[in-house]
Symmetry: C2
Subunit: 206 residues, 2 copies
């Protein structure tokens, strides 16, 4: 069976960078945006559009081609953005990727989707101060937000991730019982953590 | 500043063994029962008696010498067993131990008590099946309990630990934001995990 590592992460915790570095350390494939691209090609939807959905943004517009799948949705306001068609396509692709080779997969409920393949599931988190600092260091739009605005954005993205995960897996996002390892990145170097976690994964399994 | 590692753990998760092995790997002091002994000597209370309190068992008898501290207790039924006098003595000793040398301290709210000393806080957990198997493998009384009785015992001990931690720290026991690393020991070798975590602690700090 392939060695599959899944990473779930709080926004701004450095989870994505950790995933990339971990894949480099372990010399395995890394999947994140690639999944989105693959789904986009398969389902003939525009990549940006699929990306938006996978990033869990509330949809205000959606093309007629996918609108029909909303009919079967539960009438829950908070879940109006969930699109089953895209989730199913994503699900298939994640299963294919997991079967293809050793890999690190970031986000996308991969821990749940691949649970029959005994993945090593990691949850990456950090305190709000560190997450804000990490967002600002990246530059872009986040850097110009006030502290209050940035904290609100971070909380809102995490809330959407939790809802998405809860809807598809029936589990609580960030509940440590779903993961093999939960790591707090506050004040730590992601590069060093990646080396340490690669060592743990390589050595911890019986 | 000394390198202090604190370990909080679910009952039956192997946290104590992990602590001991981690201390060996890192070549630092290990504290667990030793704290109880030290407190017992300092406060002139019988060791068994102090042990009982620190293990969070409900007290039905208590000597007159410590009864006075109950007067200041909140009138909460679930907290009737908490003894401030002993907690304070324990608190002092843990602070002394942390100041004395590098160490691993298991339980006793050490993560909270030593928070000014920047400890590396670990929470050790496992699924119920693994915890029951670990308890049975140890032998003793637990081995003869039915599955239902053993699960009930495990839950009851963890509930008491959570109440104790909550009462003194004001935090939620097992909430990952209190820890640097949370590790799921289900199906894993504690020996290998200890090596991996020792590597993480040695390499993860900036």
């Amino acid at each position: 069976m392939n060695k599959i590592i899944t990473i779930s992460r709080e926004f701004g915790s450095g989870g994505r960078e950790l995933g990339k570095r971990l894949a480099e350390e372990l010399r395995v494939a890394y999947y994140d945006r690639e999944i989105v691209t693959a789904i986009a090609h398969r389902s003939d939807l525009a990549e940006d559009y699929v990306g938006q959905i996978l990033e869990n943004r509330i949809m205000t517009y959606y093309p007629i081609t996918v609108a029909s799948s909303f009919a079967a949705m539960p009438p829950t306001d908070t879940l109006q953005y969930v699109n089953h068609g895209i989730y199913n396509a994503q699900n298939e692709i994640i299963l294919e990727l997991g079967q293809k080779s050793d890999c690190v997969i970031v986000g996308r409920c991969a821990d749940y989707i691949l649970e029959d393949y005994n993945p090593f599931n990691i949850f990456v988190y950090a305190d709000m101060e560190s997450r804000m600092a990490r967002c600002r260091a990246k530059g872009g739009k986040d850097a110009s937000l006030s502290d209050k605005e940035l904290a609100k954005k971070i909380q809102s993205i995490d809330k959407a991730r939790a809802q998405y995960y809860r809807f598809y897996s029936g589990r609580n996002w960030g509940d440590k019982s779903n993961y093999d390892l939960c790591i707090n990145t506050s004040g730590r170097s992601i590069e060093k953590l990646a080396k340490a976690i690669a060592y743990t994964i390589t050595n911890a399994n019986e």
